[in-house]
Amino acid sequence: MIETQGLTRRFGERTAVDDLTFEVKDGEVFGLLGPNGAGKTTTVRMLAGLIRATGGTARVGGFEVGSPEGAQHVREIAGVVPDNVGLYEPLSAYRNLDFFGRLYGCQEPRRGENIRRLLGQLGLWEERDRPVATYSKGMKQKIAIARALVHEPKVLFLDEPTANLDPEASLAVRELLLEVRKEGRTVLLNTHNLDEARRICDRIGILKTRLVALGTPEMLSGTVHGRRTAIRLEAVTPAVLEAVRALAPREVRAEGDRLLLDLADPAAETPGIVAAIARAGGRIREVTEESASLEEVYLKYVREGR
């Protein structure tokens, strides 16, 4: 559904997005993670046909976004939720959605049915005639998402949809995104929120002007320190530590009553290590396998910027 090849955007001397190559399959939820100024918004704007690339190519739904005609087609099949809701505050939620439905060419009665369904899903049907100015931030963000969905787009671009929302409003928006995911739409989600990315996205790209990492959350976790085995003991004694180190795992670290081991092949190595700990007098309470958190992955790649 989305393909980019060496996509680049420069503003004068400054390069906002550099040589971006990735693919998002039909029905996939793809997250772009990155710090402020990493080029996430510029990427969404290029893919949504709002601004042109200065290098490389991108296709969305088979349309070349670099050409004016292609960009026009992309705008027909895509919905965009910008980083600022940008609703017409004096108008009601219904009027806002109806206006955008018209601009997207969604005819009646489909337009009215879609608005009713979306406002119903969001729990805002009863509030539909109230001016948007009287809504809470979370309600406005929901309306902004509904606005992007009113014409049943094939692709949805979301730029920081939960930024500046309180936890309750963020949760409501995340639940809505999970609903969108169930509907099988292709979604490109820009976010700072690592937990949100982990829960919603099938794959994640970490962007720092260039794409520095790409994969499923699990794959990316594995790239930081492999799979880590955690063994909780009654007490970590020097004898236990020595016995484990003698088996030469890549890394052995004691944290309170836990031993953290970086193993190349946990399934093969763990039984021998457990036996060695028992022989050294260690009393094991729990053995678990841990992978790196998405936060660790993010920080590693963003700091290294490789």
Binding site: Q72, R75, E76, P82, G86, L91, F99, R102, P131
Partner: protein, 244 residues
């Protein structure tokens, strides 16, 4: 050009205006004050200076031209909001993300900024004509309005002047960064009309029906040229990336 999209954009701008009482009041107040004030000035002049309405007839043509200036002034206020206002309120990006062409956006915005001031001007002009007729009927022995000059003012001059003002303001909006500077630069559009009014008052030109027809012809050509110029200057990308 898809007219249903043009109508949607103009309709939305009109709906927003209806829900902004301050803007609506400022739009209506000036024409009402002018529409009532000018006939009162004429009436007071007649009664205080013991003159007749017939001797003030040249003044009524000049007052008619005043409404041409009025529509330009009122349009400037709304037109500055048309593009820059959307940017300031962050609603322009979702609008530009729709499959709407530059021409459709500009025409919709032009109509949305042009129709309310024109309606308000007609309201003022209606009041002006009704009151002048009421004050002058007994003295003149006939109804002064409507006459050919005012018909040309209302039917051609005012709409074309309003469009001229909107298009100049849309062009200004394509590079102005905020509503205030857009209004300041856009308001300069009034200068040629003031110059023409002053020229009429000091006798350099006669602001009769023929003069207004010539002005309307020039405005019609300028309006057409300016629409294409504004379309050429409307750069979505710069609006999104340069404006802060």
């Amino acid at each position: 050009m898809r007219l249903e999209k043009v109508r949607a954009i103009a309709g939305k701008d009109l709906a927003v205006l209806r829900r902004r009482p301050n803007l609506l009041v400022s739009l209506l107040l000036f024409p009402i004050v002018v529409g009532i004030g000018l006939p009162l000035i004429l009436d007071i002049t007649v009664s205080r200076h013991h003159t007749t309405f017939a001797s003030l007839l040249p003044l009524t043509d000049a007052f008619g031209f005043f409404f041409l200036i009025l529509v330009v002034v009122l349009t400037t206020t709304l037109a500055a909001y048309a593009i820059v206002g959307e940017k300031v309120e962050r609603s322009l990006e979702p609008l530009l993300a729709t499959p709407t062409t530059d021409g459709e956006i500009l025409l919709g915005k032009t109509l949305g900024a042009f129709l309310p001031p024109l309606g308000a001007t007609y309201l003022g002009l209606g009041l002006f004509m009704a009151l002048v007729d009421a004050f002058s009927r007994a003295s003149l022995g006939y109804y002064l309005y409507p006459d050919a000059t005012i018909a040309v003012f209302a039917g051609l001059g005012a709409p074309l002047a309003g469009l001229f003002s909107v298009e100049i303001n849309v062009i200004v909006s394509s590079w102005a960064a905020d509503v205030r500077s857009a209004q300041q630069f856009g308001s300069l559009v009034i200068l040629p009309f003031i110059a023409l009014y002053v020229a009429g008052e000091i006798g350099l030109v006669t602001l009769d029906t023929n003069a207004v027809l010539v002005v309307a012809g020039v405005l019609a050509i300028l309006d057409l040229v300016l629409f294409f110029v504004s379309r050429g200057l409307f750069r979505r990308e710069e609006i999104l990336t340069r404006w802060r």
